[in-house]
């Protein structure tokens, strides 16, 4: 069953239901506007707009400084990492290498090392002093014969003969043809 509506359509509705209310209560606005309020309202609004714009511009100005500052700081950091630090490291390497060569030459001239050692040390870039600084990799007491054993030749077990091999194949059921 279709629901019965209180108000059926726009045509049934009166445009205004409040005529009798207006007769009783009136339709005058009870809210009072302070005297001269509207006289200076346009001026106050304009003033507020210009103040807001000034503040906005000021912030905008600060914003510009912040951006410039950040860019400058980034450039300084980039300069330090890309130019200063690599240059310094290179300088240090050169200085260290120079010292080592000097030491090797001094050692050679003072007859501490022979010509072959000079060549070897120059290629390794190590002086005697530097070599002394390098610790021995192998422990001092580790000279047991077991550690010094060198494999010089492969040793075969010659006690195994052909019959043993055949017997092994038979016991394991392995066909020698497929090997």
């Amino acid at each position: 069953m279709k629901k019965q509506h209180y108000i059926k359509s726009d045509q049934d509705r009166p445009e205004d239901f409040s005529e009798d209310l207006k007769k009783i209560c009136g339709s005058d606005d009870p809210f009072i506007i302070p005297e001269h309020y509207f006289t200076d309202l346009p001026y106050r609004i304009q003033k507020k707009i210009s103040t807001n714009n000034e503040v906005k511009n000021k912030h905008h100005g600060y914003g510009k400084y912040i951006i410039y500052g950040t860019v400058a700081a980034a450039l300084v950091i980039l300069f330090v990492f890309a130019v200063l630090i690599p240059a310094r490291t290179e300088k240090e390497v050169k200085a260290n290498t120079g010292n080592t060569y000097d030491n090797i030459i001094v050692e050679y001239l003072s007859d501490k090392i022979d010509e072959n050692t000079l060549i070897e040390m120059s290629s390794d870039n190590l002086s005697l002093v530097d070599r002394e600084k390098i610790p021995d990799i192998a422990p001092a007491d580790d000279h047991s014969p077991a550690n010094n054993t060198e494999i010089t030749d492969i040793q075969f077990d010659t006690s195994v003969n052909n019959e043993d091999i055949i017997e092994y194949f038979l016991s394991e059921n392995i066909d020698p043809e497929i090997l």
Partner: protein, 182 residues
């Protein structure tokens, strides 16, 4: 003196050289209507003053966005309604007032308001209006006091005309009932 036409106002506002002049003329033309509409929603004069200023500042900044899909007055009233509701919402949030109590607080503030003068029946009418839900209250005020057509109210509140008529009808019924109870 002939009131300036909205079309002329818009022409002035869209020209950089005449923008300030056009804006002043717009404020003079609409300030009272915006004030009264806002005042009926937020009640106190001080709050109304804040809202009215914000409304016109918004108009100044966004006049370029007005595409003349509706009348200029409708666009201005819509901004006024939105700003007023935003203020009520902020009051509610700031003071931890439940939504249904905002109107109650406003109703209580009526009697203390220096800028409110009404006889007994008018005060009762205002208190009855403030007992309505916010949307119904706005529809009632726009129709009853501002004399706006349902079509215009529909554009301002973005609601269908038939829904507004129903809303207005129920608002009147509730007010009548409330007045008869008192």
């Amino acid at each position: 003196m002939q009131p300036v036409q909205d079309k002329d106002l818009l022409t002035l506002l869209r020209n950089e050289n005449s923008r300030s002049q056009g804006f002043n003329m717009l404020v003079v033309k609409y300030q009272e209507k915006v004030y009264r509409m806002t005042r009926r929603i937020v009640i106190s004069h001080e709050d109304t003053d804040d809202v009215v200023q914000n409304v016109f500042i918004k108009i100044w900044h966004h006049i370029e966005d007005f595409r003349e899909d509706s009348k200029l007055s409708t666009w201005i009233y819509r901004i006024a309604v939105n700003e007023s509701l935003a203020l009520l919402k902020s009051r509610k949030l700031l003071n931890f007032i439940p939504f249904f109590s905002v109107e109650k607080k406003l109703s209580e503030s009526l009697t203390d308001d220096n800028y409110f003068r009404a006889d007994e029946i008018s005060l009762k009418l205002q208190q009855s209006i403030l007992s309505l839900p916010t949307r119904q209250r706005m529809v009632f005020n726009m129709r009853y006091y501002d004399g706006l057509s349902f079509e215009e109210i529909s554009s301002i509140l973005n609601t269908s005309k038939s829904a507004l008529k129903t809303s207005y009808h129920f608002a009147v019924q509730k007010i009548k009932k409330k007045l008869s109870e008192d």
